[in-house]
């Protein structure tokens, strides 16, 4: 309460019965004047019928809360796996970016070797070959990419 006398003032406003002590108090307390000015209106406002339909059923609210809780729990349990998965995406994407940047010239030369002109040149002159390490690295990266893609698809399902 703003003022210790406020309860009496609100009661007087509600009942529209103003005792001398309340009237005397109102002469010196702006808080109570403001309270008394709106109290009857607020009381009427609280009583006007407002609900045109029934409230949501408590059983439905309970069930929805349980479903939502299940979703939250599942997300919490899956969070470490999601973090690992994100890390794996980053590693794979970084790996491919690194390999293409680092060996771009060798890769383009190697790919050009599969064109008809390139094949003839390889037979005639003996083409440059890529290192075994490079192919091993590509093989590992490809396997990881496929595994990750499969895991993502299965997790979605």
């Amino acid at each position: 309460m703003s003022c210790p006398f406020e309860a009496n003032v609100l009661r007087a406003a509600h009942d529209d019965e103003w005792s001398d002590s309340v009237r005397r108090h109102l002469l010196e307390c702006d808080d109570c004047v403001a309270a008394a000015a709106v109290a009857p209106w607020m009381a009427r406002f609280a009583k006007i019928g407002d609900r045109e339909h029934s409230l949501p059923d408590p059983q439905i609210v309970w069930l929805k809360a349980k479903v939502l809780q299940g979703t939250v729990d599942a997300a919490r349990v899956a969070r470490p796996m999601t973090i690992v998965q994100l890390f794996a995406y980053l590693v794979v994407a970084g790996g491919w970016a690194a390999i293409l940047t680092w060996k771009w010239d060798a890769v383009t030369t190697w790919l050009r070797g599969f064109t008809p002109t390139g094949l003839v040149q390889n037979v005639a002159l003996g083409g440059d070959s890529m290192s075994l390490w490079f192919f091993a690295f590509v093989f590992i990266l490809s396997s990881t990419t496929v595994m990750l893609a499969m895991h993502t698809i299965m997790a979605e399902e």
Binding site: M42, A46, G49, D50, R51, Q69
Partner: protein, 194 residues
């Protein structure tokens, strides 16, 4: 520390904890207890949310969200009165979030000025009252409703609105004065016998 809320009872306020901070839940809320608790409190909470937002669908939505949060937090509070305070505090936060999200600081400004010729007198009265209340800011609406209808004390109101208890007195006075001015402007103000 004592609290007074709705029923007018003065009770010692226990420490408020929830399932995340306490060691165990001595009395988890089962479906039956929840249903009884919901039936006792949902009506008044819905009225509060509807007066705050002016939209029945939004009030329904916020009511459910409040109870979802209640069940998720599973607050261990000594009495139902404290649980009720928790509900009103959470509902106020959700309503304020709603206003922030919709960027409608005045809430349901879409209420039309015209009452409509087909409306019954009771509906006209309701419409006019809602329109008047909607002209207040959401925080002012919450202050007035909690103080006058829920009969919450300043500490509870401050907690619900996230303001200091000392500030509630000033804010409540301003909200009352503003509503009083609106009522005077519309010729609805009661005569205060000074």
């Amino acid at each position: 520390m004592t609290t007074m809320f709705a029923a007018g009872l003065t009770l010692p306020a226990p420490p408020v904890t929830d399932a995340r901070t306490r060691g165990g839940n001595p009395r988890p809320m089962d479906e039956g207890r929840f249903e009884a608790f919901y039936r006792r409190n949902a009506g008044s909470l819905w009225s509060y949310l509807f007066r705050m937002t002016g939209d029945q669908a939004v009030a329904d939505d916020l009511l459910q969200k409040t109870f979802f949060r209640f069940l998720r937090a599973n607050p261990t509070l000594a009495t139902e009165e404290h649980q009720r305070r928790w509900l009103f505090r959470t509902a106020t936060n959700l309503a304020m979030d709603h206003f922030r999200e919709t960027k409608r600081e005045r809430g349901h400004v879409e209420l039309s000025d015209e009452s409509g010729p087909s409306m019954e007198p009771r509906e006209v009265l309701r419409h006019d009252m809602m329109k008047t209340f909607s002209e207040l800011k959401p925080r002012e609406r919450a202050l007035l409703w909690l103080a006058h209808v829920e009969e919450a004390d300043h500490e509870d109101i401050g907690e619900a609105l996230g303001v200091k208890t000392n500030s509630v007195k000033v804010l409540l006075f301003r909200a009352r004065r503003k509503l009083g001015e609106l009522l005077t402007k519309k010729g609805l103000a009661p005569e205060v016998r000074r």
